[in-house]
């Protein structure tokens, strides 16, 4: 059974509308490890050895975060910069993470049509995840199809958001139980909650 760890990064946790709920939901899933990065490193002083040990002792890394300026919140970026060291995660002799898997669970405030050539964000959300995808690739980590929520702030979208949150625990359980196939994401694809709903009972 793959061992799952969820890294959660949200500096405005208290004001969060969907991420906090997702995080709460993740807390109800048994048998996985949860790390609130901003709670553990409020002063950005990351314990590199401890984080590397965590990576070694888990098989699937879930990164849950809101998209800030088309990227991860700064602490998660700091975490990547420090923990994914040369000689550990990549480069000469840097094969410690080969064969592991990375699952991105991202939320975006903009609606789906904003993430289109005609929308104000001009590119699909999936494109903004390329730095993470390439990071995984360089570390020989399998980049799984990202689980994404568009329009995370829209009040009239409530049902849609709740569906997304509910299926998040299904995703985590699926990863834990080996029901989600750990294979490389196809280009340009995102994971929809409905797909996960259909996965139930597999």
């Amino acid at each position: 059974m793959p061992r799952v760890i969820v890294y959660y990064a949200h500096p405005g946790h208290r004001h969060s509308q969907s991420n906090a709920a997702m995080w709460k939901r993740a807390g109800q899933v048994e048998g996985i490890t949860l790390v609130d990065l901003y709670a553990e490193y409020p002063r950005f002083h990351i314990n590199i050895a401890k984080e590397q040990d965590r990576l070694l002792s888990h098989d699937v890394y879930v990164f849950q975060f809101p998209l800030f300026w088309y990227s991860t919140p700064s602490l998660l970026k700091e975490w990547q910069d420090l923990v994914l060291e040369h000689g550990f995660a990549y480069g000469k002799d840097g094969t410690a993470l080969a064969g592991k898997a990375m699952q991105v669970a991202v939320t975006a405030a903009g609606p789906e049509d904003a993430y289109a050539p005609t929308g104000y964000n001009r590119y699909p959300l999936r494109d903004f995840l390329r730095p993470l995808e390439q990071t995984a690739r360089l570390c020989c980590i399998t980049f799984l199809t990202p689980y994404a929520l568009h329009g995370s702030l829209k009040a009239h979208n409530k049902a849609h958001i709740e569906h997304h949150i509910a299926q998040y625990s299904n995703l985590l359980e699926g990863l834990r139980d080996g029901r989600v196939p750990l294979k490389e994401a196809a280009p340009g694809t995102l994971l929809a909650p409905d797909t996960l709903a259909g996965m139930q009972g597999v």
């Binding site: 500096p11 946790h13 004001h15 709670a39 800030f68 405030a109 903009g110 609606p111 104000y120």
Partner: protein, 671 residues
């Protein structure tokens, strides 16, 4: 002339002449020399014995070498050995031979020429070290090379004293005893300026090699006694100093430390004197032994004023001792002899500088700085006449040459400063910085606060000088191998001894509030280049330090209080990152308030009577209260806005449209 009038005369000459000379960039040495020249006729009129005064003042040289020793750890001395023996030895040997050759060419008998060679080979430790220190050149390569040479010369005086009587010429005997005795009264003491009575007895007819009794015992015993004396200085210095000072510290009297320091120096000089060694060498050794001791800076600041006064007196006597009558008579001869000697000495030093790889401006510093003859030259001259090696007439001329060359030295240093150094400053820019021997960081107070600062700095590889006046604290720190020095940091002279002139940073971490203010004020007023970090005991203290000009004030319990507050937030269930932000918000707010109130604080009015202060702090309190009531918390954290749009909806579309409209409008305008 009675003692008080004499003291008054010298003091007023020094106090008037030195500041004037310094203002014109001539340096204190030239100031003292000029003061001495001005005093000359007055002293002559009152029949003051300038020569014996000079010998008394030479004790300043002994003290200076003690201080030089204090700055030289044994390790450093060992590193200097090549230069000390090689450069120093060659300088003395070659100069003596060259002067001897010149003397023979001028028609002097070879023994006289050799004796003059030895006299002129020596340079002036007093002038050179004083000037190098004053100009901050002591740690340059040229300064270090010069110091090696001077140290070798000081040591070389001892064998010279043994050698000179062997050059005695029988035909000078009768003539010389008649003429030279008054002048030679002190020859016996040689570099032993302490008046002990022996000198006068020993001078005159028999070779005066130090006090009488040591002459009377066989050579091997003398050697043994010499070794024993040196061993006593080294062992006593390293083992007895600490218990002695601890014993003295019980009396809790600052002056007693000064007395003890003086006692040490005088005692060592006396001991060396009795076994026929140079007291300068003895105290230098004691200084080196104590260089690692925690009392080093205390000793330095205690002895330094005496050294300064005595050297000043010494320079004045040199100025006063110039025999202008003889000078005018043979002006051209004496001036050309002096210039010839200085060119010769500088040339030899320059050549040696090439061999020993002293580069660029430093080589010029070495050769120009040490081109003069020195105070030991006076001593040797009176000794040579007393030993019937040189006739009085030659000695008188030589004496003038020595004095004149010393008088010209400050001029050479000015020449170096204005002409030579600027030319090399560009060329030298590429070379790596000189490693400073003094630590660039001084920490005053090594308790709970300063100790942490020191540990952090040392851990990061910085070098620090720590001053503390708590003996118990000191003993404990020494047990843990920290380098700490005993002393009351509020004394300006101790800060000076710790190297405040060359420091980059001063951390004031002593307990006493008043003393902290004094140090901060003193350093900020006098050493603008030093960054001062001061520990504040309380809020009011912050204002006082701010008023004193300190801009890096750290409240000693503020940070720990903030951390405790943050822990309290977390204990109450606040998200740690939010707790951190709240704490930072509080810190920013409090800093802003204290910064604003610092300008309203008045040192002369108690806070409860300071109207503007009270008014503004009430206003500020209302502001925070208002913010708290508005629900955002008193120290509202601005960042939250960035992490969550406050209205809870996506505004990207509107923003994008706004942006496009603006761009179109701009385009229309352009068209």
């Amino acid at each position: 002339m009675d003692f008080l009038s004499l003291a008054f005369l010298f003091l007023i000459a020094g106090v008037v002449a030195v500041p004037i000379a310094t203002r014109f960039g001539l340096g204190s040495v030239l100031g003292f020399l000029i003061a001495g020249i001005a005093l000359g006729p007055v002293l002559a009129a009152f029949r003051v014995d300038v020569v014996s005064l000079q010998h008394f003042a030479e004790f300043g040289v002994v003290m200076m070498l003690f201080l030089v020793g204090l700055e030289l750890e044994p390790k450093l001395l060992w590193r200097m050995k090549t230069r000390l023996l090689g450069l120093g030895g060659l300088q003395v040997g070659l100069t003596a031979l060259a002067v001897m050759a010149a003397g023979i060419a001028l028609g002097l008998y070879w023994t006289i020429a050799l004796a003059l060679g030895l006299v002129f080979a020596l340079s002036s430790t007093a002038i050179v070290l004083q000037t190098l220190n004053e100009k901050g050149l002591m740690r340059s390569d040229g300064g270090q090379a010069g110091f090696s040479v001077l140290l070798f010369q000081d040591i070389a005086v001892i064998p010279m004293l043994a050698l000179i009587p062997l050059l005695a010429m029988p035909e000078l005997m009768d003539h010389a005893t008649a003429v030279a005795v008054p002048n030679a009264a002190h020859g016996a003491e040689v570099s032993v300026p302490v008046e002990d009575g022996h000198g006068v007895e020993a001078s005159g007819d028999h070779a005066p090699e130090g006090p009488g009794w040591i002459e009377t015992i066989p050579g091997w015993q003398r050697a043994l006694i010499t070794v024993a004396a040196i061993a006593a200085v080294i062992l006593g210095g390293s083992m007895l100093t600490r218990p002695l000072f601890r014993f003295v510290a019980v009396a809790q009297m600052r002056e007693l430390f000064t007395a003890t320091a003086l006692l040490m120096v005088v005692g060592i000089a006396l001991l060396m004197n009795h076994v026929g060694l140079s007291p300068a060498l003895g105290t230098f050794l004691a200084g080196v032994v104590l260089a690692n001791s925690e009392y080093r800076h205390e000793l330095e600041s205690d002895i330094d004023p005496f050294r300064g006064m005595l050297l000043g007196l010494f320079f004045m006597t040199v100025g006063a001792g110039i025999d202008f009558l003889l000078l005018w008579e043979d002006l051209w001869m004496i001036v050309s002899l002096t210039l010839g000697l200085m060119v010769l000495k500088a040339g030899i030093l320059y050549g040696l500088g090439l061999i020993f790889r002293v580069r660029g401006a430093d080589r010029w510093l070495l050769s120009m700085g040490l081109a003069q003859a020195g105070e030991f030259g006076f001593v040797l001259l009176s000794f040579t006449t007393a030993s019937h090696v040189i006739p009085q007439s030659v000695a008188d001329v030589a004496l003038l040459v020595v004095a004149l060359s010393m008088l010209l030295t400050p001029a050479l240093f000015i020449l170096y400063d204005r002409v030579v150094a600027p030319r090399f400053s560009l060329a030298q820019a590429d070379e790596p910085d000189q490693i400073d021997e003094e630590a660039p960081i001084i920490i005053a107070g090594h308790g709970r606060f300063g100790g942490i600062v020191n540990r952090m700095l040392l851990g990061a590889g910085y070098r620090t000088v720590v001053l503390d006046h708590n003996s118990a604290q000191l003993r404990m720190m020494r047990a843990f191998n920290f380098k700490v020095f005993f002393g009351d940091a509020s004394r300006p002279d101790l800060l000076h001894a710790a190297g405040i002139e060359n420091a980059k940073l001063l951390v004031v971490a002593i307990d006493d509030r008043q003393q902290t203010n004094e140090i901060v004020h003193h350093v900020i007023q006098n050493y603008q280049h030093v960054h001062v970090i001061a520990r504040a005991r309380s809020r009011d203290h912050v204002y006082e330090l701010w008023a004193a000009g300190c801009r890096d004030v750290i409240r000693e319990t503020f940070d720990s209080g903030v951390r405790a507050g943050r822990s309290a937030f977390e204990a109450m269930g606040m998200h740690p990152f939010e707790a951190e932000r709240m704490a930072q918000g509080f810190v920013d707010h409090d800093r802003r308030v204290i910064r604003e109130l610092a300008d309203l604080y008045r040192n002369d009015i108690p806070i409860h009577e300071n109207e503007p202060y009270i008014r503004r702090s009430l206003e500020l309190r209302e502001e925070t209260d208002g913010a708290m009531l508005s629900g955002r918390g008193a120290y509202s954290v601005q960042f939250d806005k960035a992490w969550s749009p406050p209205v809870g909806r996506d505004e990207g579309e509107e923003a994008d449209e706004q942006c496009r409209r603006d761009a179109e409008a701009r385009g229309a305008e352009d068209a």
